[in-house]
Symmetry: C2
Subunit: 475 residues, 2 copies
């Protein structure tokens, strides 16, 4: 194919991409130093319609450092219809940190596993990935470095890092192989570009990108399904009994509430001081009292420290990105508390039961959620997952009370009655969710809510327990 | 009104706010130190449904410091339906910097003028403002500071800053008066809260907020209309002649293009080195060649340095915020280049001519735009505003050529033909835009585009000129 023809065809498929807004594309370049990555990116970007491309090659900002590692990449995922070009992307850190021995072999392999999970999730959500490894021989790299150093016009492009990476040429080469092998997939293939073929590189990349875009989407390599951990007992809503033998007396409740909120205030202040981020996910049956529970928690907190995120239907900007993006964007900075009023579990609850997500999507969500929560914990966050349950009798009583009280009527919708009829389906979904997403540090608390007072104290107790567990561990 | 009744009514109007999603609310507290601002905010926040509130009391992040001053506030404006509570907000910096003499009296007054403009713009866009000045006598402040210092449980709340502000009590009081007088408006009233009335403060704030929310929206005090600056010659599309006596030869074009792009590459690198942000706004008649012009600019740039923002219909997240938000969110960090393919001028062009914005909205936009651009320049940005014009004959030729060329047909829409019929209306809008938004450092370049080659060179020439003007000035 002539270069001009290739270029025209590439533009054509890009326009298709823009017009359909179904998929987005990530082209990622990494590899050896002084391989003219920047120049290649520039050339490729000129071939494309650059109103629909974006190039990322950034060090982390203070906002990024204060959030789980992957936040910095999630926030840069291109919208459907757009092409994002990443220099080093999520490979550079791992590769160079390992080459410089700032990362242990085990930590390096863990990072590769994270990368696999991240890319599998992107691919499943319609992100097309093309990864390029920029290769150069050691002698050639040295010749090239020396030439650059002597070129008065371009010597400024060189840094000490380039020389350091030259000295580590063998290590980077070996680590690169290991990395590519561990992260190659049909949905995220690696291509090697040799520096000696430089004049033909742009054509090669253009052809690869064209080929990637016209090929039918590769079936994403399914993440291994999240298997329930037999050693971890998960709660079960079918076997739980949210009824209470005796309701709690008001006076006794008031005293215990003050006590629990006082403890929470102290814990929260310590969490702020030690810059520990806290993520609380509230799920529950309709009318179980999520709002009331959250309110008792926030009453004890400084309003500057927390934010409540009510998760409802996604905005159009959220729909243009993988589903998990809207939870990533709301993660708290270190020392802050994000309270989710409904959460990322919507995918395996309402979206599953109401058929809003295809089965493949909610099935893989279990593994995606486990990985998401693991990353929060790895960043040092406290994670609380609370499920508020009530018995069917109590729910009916509350619905009827709502219907009868003018200023509460807006809280009751047709949907609530519909959900109630699907009790069995919800119970199945809830119990599978418990079993498949129960993990160390990410355990579910199933809270019996038939008695509001006991429920609210139990919510506070669970939040305090989580915070104290973390605060008791060394900083 | 009993406290419980007030509380219930406040919740009721908040629910109205949430359900209508027409207005948002900002409650801002500032004033003297040790007036229990934090506690009051907490109490108020508990009175409200805090799934729809957010509290802001933050120092600037590195991302914020790298952008024009007002970016940090624009990004925190609450969505329609929500209430944002700001501690100090945009008043603290000015007040304390002036008290500590880090800000000159003139700079302080300038900041107050910026605040007036900012609040008028918010109010006109449906943001309800309530500003609270927290007062305390000097002796009482001292007593309170000493008591706090001796209280083992709360002494940690005190900082050196509190003592420093105590020493500046008189200055802060006087500056506060000046500040309130300069920024009070029906749409953004100040209320004074005296520390001695503390027990009643929450009730007072609740009542004020309730009153503010049930009152009919105050007509925003119109910003003085942006008057054309007679001393600055503005271009005129009615008097321009975009035709060319002789088209430019290809060989001569090629040489000059290489030259201009080479200069641009050098200028852009220097801009990055000196961390100067660059904002380029491209406007123009249909088929005048905006895309081609932008492309010739980006060809000379490192793809890591710039981003092209194509401004089309707003997203639903953008519609939930004042119209200028979608330009603020796209401003470049220091050293980077944002290229707007259509821009904030849409409001006084297409939105005006097609009746998409009411007359009051596009009329005030002239002043809002001037203020926006002034703030960019005050941050040290380079601003380029390019308007690409073609003659009606040439436009017709290009439309017909597009219609006849299969792979260009998608570029021609019914809207293009409709716009063409409204030539006179557009010319009026364009000339008024030129006259009212011509300002020092923010001058328009009207570029004759009947000959594509000359047009592209003129675009490059204008961008280079802008950058070189800035680079020639001392850092």
């Amino acid at each position: 194919m002539k270069t001009e023809t290739l270029r025209a065809r590439l533009l054509e498929v890009q326009l298709d991409l823009v017009n359909h807004r179904e998929r987005s594309v990530i082209v990622l370049l990494t590899g050896h130093a002084v391989t003219h990555k920047g120049r290649l990116v520039n050339e490729l970007n000129h071939w494309l319609e650059n109103r629909h491309t974006e190039v990322h090659a950034l060090g982390p900002s203070s906002e990024e450092r204060e959030r789980p590692y992957w936040w910095r990449f999630w926030r840069r995922i291109p919208d459907r219809g757009r092409i994002g070009i990443f220099i080093h992307g999520w490979y550079g850190d791992a590769l160079f940190a390992r080459a410089e021995r700032r990362l242990s072999p085990g930590a390096f392999r863990d990072r590769l596993a994270e990368i696999r999970a991240f890319e599998a999730e992107l691919a499943a959500e319609g992100v097309v990935l093309l990864k390029l490894w920029m290769d150069i021989g050691r002698h050639e790299q040295r010749r090239h470095l020396e030439a650059l150093q002597q070129d008065p016009v371009r010597a400024w492009q060189l840094s000490d890092t380039d020389w350091q990476r030259h000295l580590q040429h063998a290590a980077i080469g070996a680590l690169g192989s290991e990395m590519r092998e561990a992260t190659a997939a049909d949905h995220a293939p690696w291509r090697r570009l040799d520096f000696r073929d430089r004049p033909a590189q742009l054509r090669r990349v253009g052809a690869l990108l064209h080929e990637t875009l016209v090929a039918p989407p590769a079936p994403p390599r399914a993440m291994p399904e999240a298997v329930p951990d037999e050693a971890l007992a998960a709660p079960s809503i079918r076997h739980a009994d949210p009824r209470v033998p005796a309701p709690m007396k008001k006076a006794s409740y008031a005293a215990r509430l003050v006590d629990a909120q006082g403890r929470l205030a102290i814990n929260a202040r310590e969490v702020a001081r030690r810059r520990i981020p806290v993520v609380l996910a509230f799920e529950g049956l309709d009318a179980a009292g999520k709002g009331g529970g959250i309110h008792r928690v926030t009453e004890a907190l400084d309003a500057r420290q927390y934010r409540v995120h009510r998760i409802a239907a996604p905005s159009d900007e959220e729909l243009a990105l993988p589903w998990a993006w809207r939870f990533w964007r709301r993660l708290p900075a270190d020392g802050r508390i994000a309270i989710f009023d409904r959460s990322w579990y919507g995918r395996v609850l309402v979206e599953r039961v109401e058929g809003l997500a295809p089965e493949a999507a909610w099935r893989r969500a279990f593994a995606e959620i486990r990985e998401f929560e693991r990353q929060l914990l790895a960043h040092g966050a406290v994670l609380g997952k609370l499920f508020l349950a009530i018995s069917q009798e109590e729910q009916l009583r509350r619905f009827e009370a709502r219907a009868a009280t003018p200023h509460k009527r807006h809280k009751l919708t047709d949907e609530d009655w519909r959900n109630r009829e699907r009790w069995g389906d919800y119970a199945t979904a809830i119990d599978e969710m418990f079993a498949r997403t129960q993990a160390p540090g990410a355990e579910w608390a199933l809270i019996a809510c038939d008695d509001k007072r006991q429920a609210r104290l139990a919510v506070l107790e669970e939040v305090n327990r989580r915070l104290e567990l973390r605060l008791a561990s060394p900083p």
